[in-house]
Amino acid sequence: MKIHIKGGRLIDPRSGVDAKKDVYIAAGKIVAIGDAPNGYTANRVIDAAGLVVCPGLVDLAARLREPGFEYLATLESEMEAAIAGGVTSLACPPDTDPPLDEPGLVEMLKFRAKNLNQARVYPIGALTQGLKGKRLTEMAELVDAGCVAFSQADAPFADTQVFYHALQYAATFGFPVWLRPQDPALAQHGVAHDGQVATRFGLPAIPVCAETVALSMILILARETGARVHLARLSSAEGVEMVRQAKRDKLPVTCDVAIHHAHLTEMDIGYFESNSRLDPPLRSQRDRDALRAALADGTVDALCSDHTPVDEDAKQLPFAEAEPGATGLELLLPLTLKWAEESKMTLALALARITSDPARVLGVDAGHLTTGHAADICIFDPERHWKIEPQALKSQGKNTPYIGLELKGKVRHTLVDGQVVYEF
């Protein structure tokens, strides 16, 4: 199948190209950008006039809920959501049931995902068996099965020694470790940022120090062990500042922020709106602004969807009892565009945070448009408004603080390996 993407605005953040250029695809790969190769005849021409042609998005945190939580979402529904959101590569955390702690589970997930022939799935393996924080998993086996990194998801370590050893062991073989900085004891029972909203509403709070205490321990142990650490979902100004300093000190750390946290604050809890119950909690405007600034200056490497489909029944509860999380795969692009517009960022820089930068964090060949490489492409209409409604979302998770609102930026075509897998 030869596809000619014609007349679009091509933005490739990695090479810095932002110009009107055609893309020529053959046998799943990009064969030329700009001028057609000699003797090229397309089987199909996609008219991209007025559209942006960019690398398929790379999402660092999308819960697919398989295995174990198929009542919340299935691989089928969430992979559909991914390509509808222009996401062609995604990393999924190991907090499934059972957790991704055995090669068989990882192989099965990879196999099922591959058969769907949609987005590429990069499993993050469990760092400890059953995510119990006690015994290490067989990391080399898991890497052979397809894991690209290891994580504890939101589960705590039994003690600091296990944590220390896990980092030492992973560092021995150069396996990246992804950690979400949150001290479990300080965050215990908390449901909202320890700020004015939690104070007014009497909601049990999660202080910023839950993040910074955990961060300081992670950074110290990363320095000590030489482990390559990725920090998942920062939420506070203080946390971001610690990472900025660590990067200045040449520590090999990377970090991401969830898309909701780049936009929303504790005020968006409104009158106990359980769709705004997220983990980490939405913090103050000052924190939100610091996250945005850190995204702009590159302290934060990537924006992720933190896609977490939650059952409707688990959200139809008083705020504190509601399950945290929001659907995100289909909102990653429009919310990134919204951030770019509000922060007066160039489109190329904004798109870097959801394409080339997360691909670098993942360590995979994705998130760029290069001749001779796989044609994973997202073509979107940057001006088209659409209303976020349950029926407009492919994901089985319909819960988002943006429900009922209009956002700008709609994916028109998604290509994986040179195949059109989604069209709108």
Binding site: Q196, A198, T199, F201, M267, F272, E273
Partner: protein, 316 residues
């Protein structure tokens, strides 16, 4: 972003639900206080204002005093009262809160009086009941206890006449207290110029000063020249552990004794939402002393609840 219309008010700006005192206009607070005064001042025992209406006391958390005063208030207004202790029935069978609310709505209630252990539960219920049903919050988690806040305002007004020249101190476990939050919002709305909260750092919420209060950790300093002292109940489970070492040490620093009360103005009044822990947050000699207005609070509480219910029933 989602701060839409105040969920407590109807389209005409009248009280439809009573969920919190935060954000309620002063006129509505004055209206409730004035209406309550007319009930206090009368010898009439029974009013026909809620005749033919049914009031459901839906308590997800045990309570004797609040539930009883709501029941008395509803009966004095001629309503039919149904008491439901949900803790012991459907929730333990796994029925969801939404199902419970739907079922109760289907029983043609006119008013729900709700107590729940989670902050925000009455907001959730108000969002899901049929539009003609009124919801009154009888205490939700740490969030709000609006009728308690109102009866405290009634009591203060009764003894002090005017809010515009008062110093009020709220002492103890502010962090977990819905009473403290309700008082702070009401006092602010009614024009009280100086509100103080007094307690150890472990029992004060973050950024509490953003609610418009002054923070004190030393009780004698905090009580200096105040006109009103509200003592908060210290729950048993807070008395030991990592928030406080012991009830005795709490009493030493924050228990209201005659000696500490002497720092306040000589005509200062002492409030307590009850039930009291004598010898923990308050000394018996103060609780039973001449400055205590703790029992009148209970009496005024019935009038306040009558006022709230009759005003809501009249707002159609």
């Amino acid at each position: 972003m989602w701060l839409t219309a105040n969920p407590q008010l109807d389209k005409k700006g009248q009280l439809h639900h009573l969920l919190t005192l935060e954000g309620l206009p002063a006129e509505i607070l004055w209206q409730i206080l004035d209406t309550a005064k007319s009930f206090v001042g009368t010898r009439v025992k029974k009013f026909p204002l809620l005749r033919g209406k049914s009031v459901f006391n839906v308590f997800f958390e045990p309570s004797t005093r609040t539930r009883t005063t709501f029941e008395i208030a509803a009966k004095r207004l001629s309503a039919d009262v149904i008491n439901l202790n949900i803790n012991a029935s459907s929730q333990s069978k796994g029925e969801s809160l939404l199902d419970t609310v739907d079922n109760l709505s289907a029983m043609h209630a006119d008013m729900f009086v709700v107590r729940h252990s989670e902050s925000g539960a009455p907001h959730f219920i108000a969002r899901h009941v049929a539009p003609d049903i009124h919801v009154i919050n009888a205490g939700d988690g740490r969030h709000s206890h609006p009728t308690q806040g109102l009866l405290d305002m009634y009591t203060i007004r009764h003894y002090k006449k005017d809010f515009s020249n008062l110093r009020v101190a709220i002492v103890g476990d502010v962090l977990h207290s819905r009473v403290a939050r309700s008082q702070i919002h009401a006092l602010t709305t009614l024009g009280c110029p100086e509100i103080r909260v007094i307690g150890p750092k472990t029992l004060l919420p973050a950024h509490v000063e953003q609610l418009g209060v002054h923070v004190f950790h030393d009780m004698r300093q905090g009580l200096k020249d105040v006109d009103v002292v509200t003592m908060l109940r210290l729950q048993n489970e807070r008395m030991q552990g990592s928030l406080l070492p012991s009830a005795q040490e709490f009493y030493k620093f924050y228990g209201l004794t005659g000696d500490k009360l002497a720092a306040a103005r000589s005509d200062a009044i002492v409030l307590h939402p009850g039930p009291m822990n004598r010898g923990v947050e308050i000394d018996s000699s103060v609780a039973d002393g001449k400055q205590s207005v703790i029992l009148p609070q209970v009496t005024f509480g019935i009038a306040i609840r009558m006022a709230v219910m009759s005003i809501m029933a009249g707002n159609k």
